[in-house]
């Protein structure tokens, strides 16, 4: 059994009471001593006692509490209007939100505080420690604290009326996200529509992507030179879509390598990527009709460490001098270390990543670079499977809608017709 705690002090109630008792005795003595000292020293110019130790503070008003909407329960929102003494540079330092249970409605405990001095008159506090099956009462106190540390602190408190009962609950749909919901449905709808159309045999045009047209040439060159191909599926783990995209492209490249009978080596930096890449390469060799040519050690692990991996790859590249190197996936700072070393041995390098910060380095050091979205289109482009190509068309329709929305939105906002951008605002 846990003793009741005053959450902010993180002390059990009993100890709190003892502390409060000690404090009040201490302050009581202090004030008595100081008042009598003042009075004896300055009898001619006496100040009324009330001004020295306490003054009236106006409480916050219109306190209300309700279940926080669009959440997973366990939270109640308390809203109040500021105290009359809380104007900019007013004397109120903070508001304390206090709560009691339906079992003991009179026993209030502090659940949180909010700093005063906001410019807006309405304050709100989310009490995230509510339990969904309990009823609560709330009140809010305006507090003025003077003094710097615990020993000299003096507080004046003005409490509001009690509001309640109220209880929290969980909702099944977050209505603030309805725009994202509609958007995702639309975009996925387009993609699926075009996938079906392509399945039904409708031809879809796809423009040339130079980096992907070069894949054949790059694999062919390695074959001619009798050298290896290195494939690096990024340095992130399988919980990154870019890695998954990199691994699917690996499947297409491995198929070509199997057809040409060229040694493809995949050194990876994550164990899960190793497991997946092995499956992919094995399957690709089987598809190409060369299951016997697949070797387990084609895919191997080096180290999870970003720069340890880069050091290892650098060594392998200069020693084994592959004719072609692919970099497809998520990269960080190691991108340029790898690409410059590959460049120095004269390998053909084809890179693709969705990391905007690393794209410039690949562009500078590689022969071909797939920029962002092109990486995600690569698997479809290389496979030429109608279903996959269809998804690219769906993506483009989405893009067209975005372009139209940008134009329309700018027009509407420039002429002050409608705040169009709010349609796209995301709440987290």
């Amino acid at each position: 059994m846990n003793p009741i705690r005053i959450s902010l002090l993180n002390l059990p109630l009993s100890r709190c009471l003892v502390r409060i008792a000690i404090f009040s005795i201490f302050f009581g003595l202090l004030s008595v001593i100081s008042i009598s000292a003042q009075q004896s020293a300055d009898t001619a110019n006496a100040v009324p006692d009330s001004q020295l130790v306490e003054f009236a503070l106006s409480p916050p008003f219109e306190v209300s509490a309700k279940d926080t909407p669009n959440d997973g329960g366990g939270s109640i929102t308390v809203i109040w209007q500021r105290s009359a003494d809380d104007l900019p540079n007013g004397i109120v330092t903070e508001y304390r939100v206090m709560r009691s249970n339906a079992d003991q409605p009179e026993v209030f405990a502090e659940v949180g505080d909010v700093a005063a001095g906001e410019t807006k008159p309405t304050y709100r506090y989310h009490d995230g420690n509510a339990s969904d099956d309990e009823q609560y009462y709330y009140k809010v106190a305006a507090v003025t604290i003077s003094g710097d540390d615990a020993e000299t602190t003096q507080e004046v408190v003005a409490e509001s009326d009690v509001t309640g009962p109220v209880s929290s609950s969980a909702q099944w749909f977050d209505w603030r996200r309805i725009n994202a919901f509609v958007g995702v449905l639309l975009l996925c709808g387009f993609i699926m529509f075009y996938i079906n159309r392509a399945k039904a045999g409708k031809k879809i045009f796809i423009r040339k992507i130079a980096g992907l047209d070069a894949v054949d040439e790059a694999v062919g060159r390695a074959t001619e030179m009798g050298k290896k191909i290195f494939y690096i599926p990024g340095t992130q783990d399988m919980d990154n879509v870019q890695t998954i995209a990199g691994v699917t492209i690996l499947g297409r490249v491995a198929e070509k390598a199997a057809q040409y009978d060229t040694w493809l080596e995949v050194p990876v930096s994550r164990s899960l990527v190793m497991v997946t890449a092995k499956e992919v390469v094995k399957e690709a060799y089987a598809k190409a009709g060369r299951p016997d040519a697949f070797h387990e050690d084609q895919v191997h692990y080096l180290t999870d460490d970003q720069f340890g991996y880069a050091a290892g790859i650098d060594g392998m590249v200069v020693r084994e001098k592959p004719a072609t190197i692919f970099y497809m996936g998520a990269f960080y700072a190691e991108s340029l270390i790898l690409a410059e070393t590959g460049n120095s041995i004269g390998a053909i390098q084809i890179a693709g990543t969705g990391m905007p910060s690393q794209l410039p380095f690949f562009v500078a050091a590689c022969d071909y670079t797939l920029i962002g979205e092109e990486l995600f289109a690569a698997s479809a482009y290389l496979s030429r499977e109608p279903k996959l190509i269809g998804s690219l068309k769906g993506q483009d329709v989405g893009k067209g809608l975005i372009l139209a929305a940008i134009l329309l939105g700018i027009l509407l906002e420039t002429f002050n017709v409608w705040n169009f951008s709010s349609l796209f605002s995301v709440i987290n």
């Binding site: 846990n2 423009r207 998954i244 720069f307 050091a311 562009v363 002050n416 796209f424 605002s425 995301v426």
Partner: protein, 233 residues
């Protein structure tokens, strides 16, 4: 020991740097040490942080004693067992006969990742970027308190130009990524402008990163010349 330590660090530092000249035994040794130590480092760290710290302590929470001397107990989080099951299935790969079961946890992870990325990138990257691009181009409409009507306050010429650059750049850049239409004619011209913007982007962010990268090297040079050899005053 301190002398030894700083020499070890300097030896390894120079070993890596020597690669810039050419591959050599010194680099090979440093590289092998790096690969071995870092693989082992992550092996240990993942074990203690993830398996022991997250899983074991999550299922069998330790009793903590707080500053007041009270024992704080935490609820065990049995949901972590799902992770343990997935991890165990993964390890079945070591047994060739039933190794194929490891595709299940893999399929699970890929499914989660796809779902999460789909919605996260849609909502934060796409919606947020589109929202930021849609803006009034030539001026604000501000509420005039005197007449309580919206009054137009124009941006400066420079601001209008900057906004136009931002909008045109985003628009044409997106056109460049169009896959299902040939880049010819007016459409091709727009895409061409888009690639110009993308090139400026690459150049600028390349130039920007140079500063940070140089400071890393300065730090190493300082270690060698100051901390190690004491050549610099």
């Amino acid at each position: 020991m301190e002398h030894f330590a700083v020499w070890v660090a300097a030896f390894l530092t120079l070993g890596i740097v020597s690669f810039l000249y050419k591959d050599n035994p010194w680099y090979k040794l440093s590289e092998a040490i790096f690969v071995g130590i870092s693989a082992g480092y992550w092996f240990v760290v993942l074990f203690w942080d993830n398996i022991y710290g997250k899983f074991w302590n999550g299922i069998f929470p330790e009793e903590l004693i707080d500053s007041a001397g009270n024992v704080v107990t935490r609820e065990p989080d049995y949901w972590l067992l799902v992770g343990a099951v997935l991890g165990t299935l993964m390890l079945l790969r070591l047994i060739p006969k039933i190794g194929w079961i490891s595709r299940w946890p893999l399929a699970f992870i890929i499914g989660c990742t796809s779902g999460l990325y789909l919605i996260n990138y849609f909502s934060s990257n796409m919606m947020r970027q589109v929202e930021a691009t849609i803006m009034p181009l030539v001026g604000h409409w501000v509420l005039d308190p005197a007449t309580s009507q919206n009054a137009f306050s124009a941006f400066s010429g420079a601001d209008i130009f900057s906004n136009l650059v931002l909008v045109i750049g985003t628009f044409t850049g997106l056109v460049y990524f169009y896959f299902s239409k040939e880049h010819r004619g007016a459409f091709g011209g727009t895409a061409k402008v888009g690639i110009f913007f993308i090139m400026i982007t690459f150049g600028a962010s390349f130039g920007y990163t140079v500063m940070s990268r140089m400071s890393l090297l300065i730090g190493r040079a300082d270690f060698l010349l100051f901390d190690w050899l004491g050549l610099v005053r």
